[in-house]
Each structure stands twice: as C-alpha cells, then as structure tokens.
C-alpha cells in the first residue's frame, strides 16, 4: 500500500547552498508534520500543517527554514544557506487528524541531509 514517501533519500550539499526536501503524504491525511532527527537523538518538531489552518511553524530553528504544502498533498521543506549543523535526517509524517489528540502518525523513511 502507499505509505508516506520522501525524496531524495540522501542529499549531500555544500555549506551555503539551498536544499529542498519533498514529502508525499498518505492520500486523505489532513495533517502533515516535519521533524528533524540528529544522529542518535529523538525527533525535533519543526512544523505541521492541518487542513486549511495556518501552519504551526513554532519549531523552525531559524528563518533559513521554511515549508509549504499544496492543499492536502505534497509538502516541501526548504533550507536556505545550509550550515553544517543542519546535517540530520528529516522525517515527514502524516495523519488523519492532529497527532496531539491521538491520531496515529505514519512516518516516511526520511531524507538524510549531509552538509559538507
């Protein structure tokens, strides 16, 4: 069955370059989340989208990070002027409703970003 997919699976970029990471959620899921996971660590919330509501951007670490979502489909996370500390796995998840009220999140496999 179609789960959450992310692309690319791996991305190596030079410091200072911009990168775009893509997430395709499960069809019909209204909520979409982005997380960052540093090596050996838990997940750090970045941003979530829920239907037509304004996204919750409270987890974005700096103004170099931004994300968009087209309706209830694809989302793109953009990191401008990448820094070495941005190196991490970026995970996307989707759910039928808000995970904070108990809906299950389904995660993609992540994009491993390495900034050299």
């Amino acid at each position: 069955g179609a789960g959450v997919s992310q692309s690319p699976s791996n991305k190596v970029t030079e410091k200072g370059k911009d990168v775009e990471l893509r997430c395709d959620p499960i069809s019909g899921h209204t909520a979409l989340y982005w997380y960052r996971q540093r090596l050996g660590q838990g997940l750090e919330f970045l941003i979530y989208f829920q239907g037509n509501s304004a996204p919750d951007k409270s987890g974005l670490p700096s103004d170099r990070f931004s994300a968009e979502r087209t309706g209830e489909s694809v989302s793109t996370l953009t990191i401008q002027r990448t820094q070495q500390e941005d190196s991490a796995v970026y995970l996307c998840a989707s759910s039928r409703g808000l995970a904070g009220v108990g809906y299950e999140q389904y995660f993609g496999p992540g994009t491993r970003l390495t900034v050299t």
């Binding site: 838990g42 919330f45 979530y48 995970l91 808000l98 904070g100 009220v101 108990g102 299950e104 995660f107």
Partner: protein, 113 residues
C-alpha cells in the same frame, strides 16, 4: 530543556531477559505514544495511552501510563533480537498549547542472541 526524559539512553541485554524503559516529564500529557524505530526507517507506532493508570499489552510488551499522566513505562518480557531498535515516547503536552507531539530522546535497545 528536554520536556520528555527517557531512560536508560542505551540498553544491551541478552535474549530472554526482561527490561523496562521509562519516559518522564514534569508536564501533564493529554495522550502519550510509544514508537519503535529501526535504522534507516521512520518510527512506527506501538501504542497510544490516554487515561491515567492505563495499562496496555501488545504481546510481550506492556505499556503503563502514570496516574498523573506525567510518566510512562514500557516493559518487555523475554526480549528477542527482533526487539532491537530505538524506542521513542512522544506526547501531547497540555500546557504547551501545541497540537504536535513532543518526542523524547529515545532508548536504544540491543538484544544479543
């Protein structure tokens, strides 16, 4: 400041042993979830607990939610190599006002055959 503390951070045991991992917070959760993550993959939900004092069992895994909804534990009986992975707790913390989950830093479990 880590809102969710997990312990231990790392655990290496022999097949057949029992173990317990803990998830603690000074804040109250409206709900709490446990995930397992294997290398190169995203986390997969194991269980959701909602009610204080709730106990849920999933085969050899027993999950308990604290009475005050500030802590949780995961107990594995007779661990198997297939249980190896990163165990993450995640909760919706009531006083943050955010409807996304806050994750702990995880417990990395290795079960030796």
């Amino acid at each position: 400041t880590q809102l969710l503390e997990q312990s231990p951070q790392f655990l290496s045991i022999q097949e057949g042993e029992n173990l317990t991992v803990y998830c603690n917070s000074s804040s109250v959760f409206s709900s709490l979830q446990w995930y397992r993550q294997e290398p190169g993959e995203g986390p997969v939900l194991l269980v959701t607990v909602v009610t204080g004092g709730e106990v849920k069992k999933l085969k050899r895994l027993t999950f308990q939610f604290g009475d005050a909804r500030k802590d949780s534990s995961l107990h594995i009986t007779a661990a198997q190599p297939g249980d190896t992975g990163l165990y993450l707790c995640a909760g919706s913390i009531m006083d943050t006002g955010r409807r996304a989950l806050t994750f702990g830093s995880g417990t990395r479990l290795q079960v030796q055959p």
